[in-house]
């Protein structure tokens, strides 16, 4: 099993050499053709300028705020440099770090089991079951903050509809197992869709060949399907681990006395207003996250190599899970559990807004809906506007960024790639505080503007988008780029005529991700929001905070519906735009 790894590395090295020589070729050629024309010079200038803007904004909006946090962590009482914060915080929150890692590992483990199972069910089923499961994944991709945890309490709490109402249990749901369970299921939709993409690329003929050679469905699953998913599975494990580390909402609402670093950060900020300790805790969190990131990059490369090597036709995965023995049974069970939990959870969220609790029993009501409609819905409009801006600009930014990272020899390429990923690993509240620290003084006074909110959303979501774009860009043949150069086009022509059109498939994914994240992100912008520019998610936060669960559920429902509608619209538009090319 070790052997195959080596060739991958060889191959990527080979690719790098190719890339290098292509640049050399290009520059060599140009010098032959004599002095530059004005147009060439302009193209060159635009290219450099674009690169400078891209890298500059990454430095400004990612590196600088993070440095501000790092700086703050060494800040003594009277503004002097000190290491005392570290010692103090470690003594106080050392156990939280282990808690974080414990929860992270278990959440990642269970989440991956759920994700693999769900992905296998979606890719092997046909007909209405497939549609239903896919639909559930798409809806649950949109996950407004907090309400999922509230639904958990409502369903599985001490007086939960399921645990108490149905099973007659009265148990304490406020502990680490609740956190692990909720994190495990809430990270699944994205992972499952990612794995589904990998499964779709498995060569259908290799499955047929295995059957042909006498392999039972169980053997096919074990020997052919799962091994080909392996790099993807590991990516899931790592991403879930990182997300679990950064997630503060779940432990805050259902952790009870159990706390993780992320929830301690939230505490330090909202309870003690101790920025120094919060900064130190962030530094603690960065260590395991960065470690996980470098592992992730290695694994992703392997995954790409596996996928790229398969040249077969990509078709529906022909495998009957029901006949896969014990393993198939477990997969069926896990996915069944997941889908049922999701249906219950979202049904609970949707219905809470329409149920009036009273002494005489619960009844249907439109009272809360009317109450919500009476308050200003401008926030919803503003949310949509901001989300659209972030989605479009952020997607374009990610496309161009990934082009420079993947195809051009940019100095410190690895460093920038890692840098851009950092916001993904920190709790949103921390990235928000970083922004306030960084941008509260002239000449960089951005606090209180829309720009700071937009930039924060954009750069918080950039890591995922650049990953999507980079993966897609790998499918765009280098030859197309060379052809443009060959025919006399410059870098701008490459970007316009090869890279951006080639990234079209990534557009929809990035846009959807950006849009739904922008509509639902709360942590990052909690501290950045300006009274004049409230967002819908803030109203949601407020409703949760004051205990207006019905209103919170309604806002969450509204957000989910809007996100789905906008995504469907964009899907339709891009589908229309893509059609002429196909026919």
């Amino acid at each position: 099993m070790n052997k195959p790894n080596k060739p991958f590395e060889k191959k990527t090295n080979g690719l790098k050499r190719e890339r290098a020589s292509s640049d050399a070729l290009f520059f060599g050629k140009r010098s032959f053709s004599g002095p530059f024309s004005g147009r060439e010079l302009a193209g060159y200038a635009v290219d450099r300028l674009l690169l400078a803007v891209i890298l500059g904004s990454v430095c400004l909006f990612v590196l600088y705020p993070l440095l501000c946090i790092a700086f703050r962590s060494f800040n003594g009482k009277d503004g002097t440099f000190t290491l005392a914060n570290y010692g103090e915080t470690w003594a106080q929150y050392g156990t939280s770090l282990w808690n974080s890692i414990f929860v992270g590992v278990l959440s990642a483990f269970f989440c991956t089991i759920f994700s693999v199972s769900a992905a296998l069910v979606v890719s092997t089923r046909r007909g209405w079951m497939k549609l239903l499961c896919m639909g559930i994944l798409l809806v649950t991709m949109v996950s407004p903050p907090f309400v999922a945890s509230l639904a958990y309490i409502q369903l599985y709490g001490r007086r939960g509809w399921i645990t108490h109402g149905l099973l007659g249990l009265s148990w304490n749901p406020y502990n680490k197992w609740g956190v692990i369970l909720m994190q495990s299921v809430s990270f699944v939709p994205m992972n499952a869709l990612f794995l589904n993409g990998i499964l779709a690329k498995i060569d259908g003929d290799s499955i047929k060949a295995a059957r042909d050679l006498g392999a039972s469905p169980a053997s096919i699953l074990r020997d052919i399907v799962l091994p080909q998913m392996k790099p993807g599975i590991l990516v899931c494990l790592l991403l879930s681990f990182i997300r679990s580390l950064a997630d503060y909402g779940t432990p805050v609402i259902i952790g009870g006395r159990f706390s993780t670093i992320a929830s301690d950060i939230y505490y330090q900020l909202t309870g003690y207003a101790n920025l120094e300790k919060a900064s130190v805790l962030n530094m603690f969190l960065l260590l395991p996250s960065i470690g996980a990131f470098f592992l992730y990059r290695r694994l992703l490369r392997q995954s790409d190599a596996l996928v790229q090597s398969s040249r077969g036709k990509q078709e529906q995965l022909q495998l009957r899970l029901g006949k896969c023995g014990l393993l198939g049974g477990l997969i069926g069970l896990a996915s069944g559990l997941f889908f049922v939990m999701m249906i219950l959870q979202y049904a609970c969220i949707f219905s809470t807004g329409f149920i009036k609790v009273s002494k005489t029993g619960n009844r249907f009501t439109l009272q809360y809906l009317r109450q919500l409609l009476k308050t200003d819905l401008n926030t919803m409009g503003r949310s949509v506007l901001y989300a659209l801006i972030v989605s479009l600009v952020g997607t374009l930014f990610a496309m161009i960024f990934s082009y420079y990272m993947e195809r051009r020899k940019v100095p410190l390429r690895q460093g920038f790639d890692c840098l851009v990923t950092l916001p993904y690993m920190l709790p949103g509240t921390c990235f928000g505080i970083g922004y306030i620290l960084a941008f509260n003084h002239p000449p960089l006074k951005l606090t209180g503007t829309a720009l700071i909110v937009l930039a924060n959303m954009l750069f918080k979501q950039l890591p995922t988008c650049t990953k999507i774009c980079s993966a897609t860009l790998k499918q765009v043949p280098l030859a197309q780029e060379r052809a443009v150069h060959d025919l006399g086009g410059g870098q701008m022509a490459v970007l316009r005529d090869v890279i951006l059109p080639g990234l079209r498939p990534a557009f929809l994914s990035c846009f959807s991700y950006n849009f739904s994240s922008s509509m639902t992100t709360a942590g990052a912008i909690l501290f950045l929001i300006d009274p004049a520019r409230k967002l819908a998610v803030f109203k949601l936060f407020d409703a949760v905070y004051t205990g207006d669960y019905a209103v919170a559920s309604l806002i969450a429902t509204l957000i989910i519906l809007i996100v789905l509608a906008v995504e469907a619209l964009v899907y339709w538009i891009t589908g229309k735009a893509a059609k002429p090319r196909v026919s």
């Binding site: 106080q92 156990t95 309490i153 409502q154 001490r158 007086r159 304490n172 406020y174 502990n175 805050v252 009870g256 006395r257 159990f258 939230y266 505490y267 900020l269 909202t270 309870g271 003690y272 207003a273 920025l275 609790v357 009273s358 002494k359 308050t375 659209l388 801006i389 479009l392 600009v393 505080i433 306030i436 620290l437 509260n440 003084h441 606090t447 209180g448 503007t449 720009l451 937009l454 316009r496 951006l500 059109p501 079209r504 557009f507 501290f527 929001i529 300006d530 009274p531 004049a532 409230k534 803030f538 407020d542 949760v544 905070y545 004051t546 205990g547 669960y549 735009a577 002429p580 090319r581």
Partner: protein, 369 residues
């Protein structure tokens, strides 16, 4: 063809975003224009007849504990022409945000929240002193001597009981704080983390003051055994009790809690051995963009009884009568004698040490779990 659609889309996106940014960024600038220019144009007709008033204009950004105050701010807008943008945030978040902003606050007025946070903010020099004539009518213990904060009411603390659960678990009604340490209540009491909830901080601070440090901490250690967990939001104890999750919640008491009786089987207990309380603050941020409007708002609020009546109505509590005894039209619905004797100045000074000690208390159990 398709290529063109894509690039057009992207171009549109760029333009849109730039336009939006410009618009949003410019907005504050126009608001900052000299007051003289704006008051005339923005002042609604109805307020023209009003007498002396400082020249205020533009938009006032307020951070409040709830969006319910919008009617009060609407009244302010109607009378002064100053638009109000309201954002609700807990006082801990406000303090963090203020500290991170390093003296360049993105709001003007701070409306509501435990007085301890206001005291901390004053210590960090983040509040702007405000003085006005009617301030003399406010009970001195409910205003900062320098005018950095004023109190807009009192939050009082008591118990909310879930009758169904009490019966089911065969529990007796607790009448005093001391009762809560009875082992029969184990795992059935919920309170909020005092670091986050001003109400619960008030309970801790008040009881420590009343019982003395040593006896006080002994009490909280015993209480800790019965507390299921410390919720991270101030409204949680109330929410969890009405959701039948816990039998007893330590919560703020006001008319909204009383109103719960209509829909839920709950009992409100005013502890016999004293009711902790905490003033609710209002203040103006130092270096705020529209500091004049915020200052005037505080003056406007306390100078006119009508405004305070409206406030009492929104807050669903009558404690404003204690703040401004001369106030007409609001009658206190409980006797002030039931409130504990407190030295308010200790709310700020003891905060850090109390919370630090409380954290080890809360943490102990986490390890045992």
């Amino acid at each position: 063809m398709s290529k063109r659609v894509l690039s057009a889309l992207l171009a549109a996106a760029m333009l849109l975003s730039m336009a939006a940014c410009n618009k949003e960024e410019k907005a504050p600038e126009t608001e900052n224009q000299t007051p003289a220019e704006n008051t005339t144009t923005e002042k609604p007709a109805e307020s023209e007849g009003k007498e002396e008033k400082p020249e205020i204009s533009g938009t006032m950004k307020a951070i409040a504990t709830s969006e319910n105050y919008v009617t009060l701010f609407d009244k302010f807008t109607a009378e002064t022409g100053v638009k109000v943008e309201l954002l609700s945030m807990s006082s801990g978040d406000v303090l963090s945000k203020l500290r991170a902003e390093g003296g360049t606050p993105s709001a003007d007025l701070w409306f509501g929240g435990g007085i301890d946070a206001f005291m901390s903010a004053k210590e960090d020099d983040l509040l702007e002193p405000v003085t006005f004539e009617a301030a003399s009518e406010i009970d001195p213990q409910f205003r900062d001597p320098d005018g950095c904060w004023y109190s807009k009411g009192l939050t009082i603390v008591g118990f909310l009981l879930n009758d169904k659960l009490m019966e089911e678990l065969n529990l007796e009604q607790p009448a005093t704080w001391e009762d809560l340490t009875d082992p029969s209540y184990q795992g059935e009491i919920i309170m909020s983390n005092p670091a986050i909830s001003g109400t619960n901080y008030a309970a801790v601070n008040s009881l420590l003051q009343a019982k003395g440090e040593e006896a006080g901490w002994e009490f909280f250690n015993a209480l800790n055994e019965n507390i299921a967990y410390y919720a991270k939001r101030g409204s949680d104890p109330k929410n969890k009790v009405i959701a039948d999750e816990f039998a007893i919640g330590i919560t703020y008491l006001d008319d909204t809690i009383t109103a719960l009786k209509e829909d839920y089987d709950v009992t409100i207990v005013y502890p016999e051995d004293g009711i902790p309380w905490i003033p609710d603050g209002v203040a103006c941020f130092k270096n705020a963009e529209n500091v004049e409007a915020a200052k005037y708002f505080i003056e406007w609020l306390f100078s006119n009884d009508e405004n305070l009546q409206l406030l009492a109505e929104i807050d669903q509590k009558t404690s404003i009568k204690l703040i401004k005894p001369s106030l007409e039209g609001v009658e206190l619905d409980y006797s002030p004698d039931i409130l504990m004797e407190l030295d308010l100045s200790k709310f700020g000074s003891m905060r850090e040490s109390i919370l630090a000690q409380f954290e080890t208390l809360m943490g102990d159990k986490a390890v045992n779990e």
